[in-house]
Structures are given as structure tokens and as C-alpha cells.
């Protein structure tokens, strides 16, 4: 059963073809890594999936229904969550309020406080709870983004380069977190760090020049000659 499918999804920015006719299927419960060189169109593709970016053509299906025409907020309400590649927290609001905004969309009363505390604990930000988000280090702001995603308890969690700027220790914690979520939550993970991909993903899709170049298990992808030529640069 696919939680997410795209058919012929394309986007061109003033003539620049960023994503070209992507057919993409993601089964429920899977952790899928999306990799590809910078500028391959990964952010644009997931932007069209969650409704931030309007496609030039093509369709998106979520949980068996066509959501191509739904605005972003309605898609989120159906159970998607998106964490931004370019950190986009509420810098002048406390960390707790950042996460509470995410939680309040589906919860009320004390359940909000519990969800906030839980999400912050899972990413290891409990001690920073009362700081303003803008005072956090870059790595901690990345973790806050993830906490905001968790607090939505989504069915599909889209993470856009979450480990960028994290320390070794934080990356290790992140891998553990993804493994904990796996099974309950379907995860679409855009990731540059190949260790993270190898250790967390069930399957990997490779995007190159806006097209899906290959798809397979992490090991298959690592050994795929075309992928090495395009992406790993070791062809």
C-alpha cells in the first residue's frame, strides 16, 4: 500500500527544468532516502509533494487520494510534515512555543505540553526549552526543526537535509531517532551524509538533473555504476 505516489510530476522555473516527469512511489512505513547532487531538484520535488511549490504538471496522491489541488496547510492536516532545509524556526519565540505551534494543530490542553516536552526530549533539546529559538546554535536549530516535525506526529515525515550542520554525536542520535520512528512513521529523508543513508534507509532513490536515475536498497545504490558516476563522483 502506497502512502505517497507522484505521476509525471514536473516543475520548471522560468524555463529551467528543475524536476522532470517524476513517478515516485513510497510504501507505508518505509524509510526512504532521496539523494542526488546539489541542484538535482530534491527540495523542489518534496516542495511539490507537500504543497509549498505548485507543479508545472503532474499529480500527487497521498493515502489513496489525489491531493494535487490541495493547499499546503490542508496536506499537512492530512498527516504530512515537512522540515525545512533552510532552517525556518520562529527566531523570536521560545523553543517551547515553536514546538507548541506544531502540536496545537492536532492537540489541546495539557496534551500540548506533554507533546512538546516529548518532542524536545527526543531530539535532546530539553535544556534549551526556554531559550528563544534564535539564540540556539545552528545545529540546535536543525534539531528544533525536527522536533517541530515530530510534534505533529505525522504519517509521512519529510526531512530536508536534517543532519546538515549537526555534530558527530548529534548525527548518531539522529540515526537512533529515525530507527525509533521507522515502522510507525513513513519517512522521506533527503540526505547527503552517506553513512546516515546506509544505516537508516530501507531504500534509496537517486535524483539527477530532475529525473529519477536509480532506486534500490542502500547496498545496491552504493554499487550502482551510474549512480557513482553521477553522484558519488567515483565512476
Amino acid at each position: 500500500m502506497m502512502i505517497l505516489s507522484t505521476r509525471g510530476l514536473s516543475k520548471s522555473f522560468d524555463g529551467l527544468q528543475a524536476v522532470t516527469k517524476v513517478d515516485f512511489d513510497l510504501p507505508k512505513g518505509e524509510v526512504r532516502a532521496l539523494i542526488g547532487p546539489n541542484g538535482a531538484g530534491k527540495t523542489t520535488l518534496v516542495g511539490m509533494i507537500c504543497g509549498r511549490i505548485e507543479p508545472t504538471s503532474g499529480h500527487v496522491q497521498f493515502d489513496g487520494e489525489d491531493i494535487t489541488r490541495l493547499p499546503a496547510h490542508a496536506r499537512i492536516m492530512r498527516g504530512m510534515a515537512y522540515t525545512f532545509q533552510i532552517t525556518s524556526v520562529f527566531a523570536r519565540l521560545p523553543v517551547t512555543e515553536n514546538v507548541a505551534l506544531a502540536a496545537r494543530r492536532r492537540l489541546s490542553g495539557d496534551a500540548i505540553d506533554r507533546a512538546v516536552a516529548d518532542a524536545l526530549a527526543r531530539v535532546g533539546l530539553s535544556n534549551e526549552a526556554h531559550e528563544d529559538a534564535g539564540n540556539l546554535s545552528y545545529g540546535h536549530q536543525r534539531l528544533l526543526e525536527i522536533a517541530m516535525g515530530l510534534a505533529q506526529s505525522p504519517r509521512l515525515l519529510i526531512l530536508d537535509e536534517p543532519t546538515q550542520g549537526l555534530s558527530e554525536g548529534e548525527i548518531a542520535d539522529f540515526k537512533t531517532l529515525v530507527r525509533e520512528l521507522a515502522g510507525d512513521t513513513t519517512i522521506l529523508l533527503i540526505e547527503h551524509n552517506m553513512d546516515v543513508v546506509m544505516e537508516t534507509a530501507d531504500r534509496v532513490s537517486v535524483l539527477n538533473f530532475g529525473e529519477i536515475l536509480a532506486e534500490g536498497t542502500p547496498t545496491e545504490i552504493r554499487e550502482n555504476a551510474a549512480v557513482q558516476a553521477a553522484y558519488l563522483g567515483t565512476g
Partner: protein, 314 residues
Amino acid sequence: MTASSRVIVLHLGLLALLFGLQFILPAYHHGNLARIMVLASYAVGYNILFGYTGLLSLGHALFFAAGMYGMGLTIQHMGFTPAPALIVGIVAGAFVAGALALLALRTVGVSFMIVTLMFAQAGYLTVLYFGEYTRGDEGFVIQQAQRVLWGVDLSNATNRYFAAWGLFSVSFGLSLWLVRSSFGRTLIAIRENEERVRMLGYDTYKHKLTAMIISGTISAAAGAFYGLLFGYAGASFASVQYSIFPLLWVLLGGAGTVLGPFVGTLFMFYLIDLSSGITSAYLLIAGLALVLLTLFAPQGLIGEIRRRFWKNLP
């Protein structure tokens, strides 16, 4: 005391203080304060859109005037008594705000400012065009006999003070409650980063629409009360000047603070009042004071207090 109850005590304290002041103030300041409370209610309404939602309108005089004329014209030409006339004014403001929101919220930033400005200007011209009813710039007086609300003569200074205090208490209390509610917190988040709020699943358009209607309705209530309490409706209240005033009051007092609109209105009122007593170039003095304040307290008086001493002040 918890942080939350300290906040409540402070804000209710202001209302209690204003209530008590009427018994000790000399007549001149008593009258001023009644006027300031009504104008501050206007600023409270403005602040909900500008200070909390982050939308800079240059057209709020349209809402203030909708309230004033909705009230005044029904009294003048249709023989309404004050209570239903006030309701007409307030409802008129809500409708005008909703209609303008539908048009203006298609735009952002400078375009939003320009669209609100243009429509308010059109409102001003409409008031002049229907001069037969509105008496245009000259305006019309609402007679003492027409200003008796439930047996209470609102031209009497004590009653007027009490009515102004009531209006201010309601709008001030509403604003305090609103910005602490989850709806209000979402507005604040929209001000900070609208795209992120959208991507958390909120319909930001609906939130902004609602904020603009609430803001316009409070502004209209202030306009309706102003006309009724001071017995006059005129086109100058629909002019661009009356769109700029609440912006200045809110900036001076502190945008996005509950106390700011009152403090800013009070400050500006007495700044002009005192400087005009000293020199005929009073606007120069007022202007200079404003420049100094923007330099040394760019977040406004209450904004500065929040920054330095009281981080959780709403």
C-alpha cells in the same frame, strides 16, 4: 505569584487605575482622559492587525469612520436611539473590514499598505460625495437629546468618562485575552514567519482575515463611541491623518504589546497638548520627541520595558 497572574494583575491594575482616576482628576484632564481612552481603543484595534499579525494597514480610518457614520447617520437621519445606532456602526465596521480584507489580503507588504490606503481614501471621498447627508468636511453635531443611552446622558462628563472607560476595558480585555489564546499565538507566529505557520498546517489566510475583521470591528466601535460621546461626526475622521494616528500611537507605545496602544496614545496626546501650550511650533517639538524616541526606544515605550525587564509581557 505565577508569571501569568502577574500579567493579569498588571493589566487589570491599569483598568482599576483609570476607573479610580475619574474621582481625583481636575476637569480638564478628566475630559482628556475620556478622549484618550476612546482613541486608545482605536489603537488597540489597530495593534491587533499591525502589532500582532504584522500587517501594516494605512486605511484604518475607513473602519473608524464606518463606525462613526454608521452610528451618526442612523441617529441623524433615521431617528435611531444610541444603542441600536452603536450596533449599526460596529456592524458596518465589521462588514467594511471583511470586504477590504478580501481584497487587500491578496497582496502583501507595500502593496497591502497601498491597497488599504486607496480604499480608505475612496471612503473619505464617499463621505464628501454624499455631503447632503454627511455635511462633508463641516460635519454634523449630534444633539444632547440624541445622546441619551438607556436614560444616561452621555454629554455629561462623568457619564462620558464611564462610557469611555467601559469601551476601553472591553477592547483592552479582549486584546489581552486574544493574544494569549491559541488563535492569537498563531497570529504572532504569522507575523514572525508566515510560511512556516502554513507548513505547520494552519490556514494563514483565514487567520489574517479574522484578525483584520476583529481589528476593524474594534476600530469601528471606537469611531462610533467617539462620535456619540463627543457629539460630532465629520469627514476629517475619515482622512488619511486618522489612518496614520493609530500607527504612530502603537509605534510609540510598543507594537505587539497589550499596554502599548494606551501608553502611546496617552503620550502623544499630552506631548501635543503640552508643547502647544509652549509654542505655536508645537508640531516641531512633538516631531523631535518622536525622533528621539525612535532612536532610543525603537520598540516603543512598553516594547522597551519588555526587552529590558519583563520578557513575558504579552
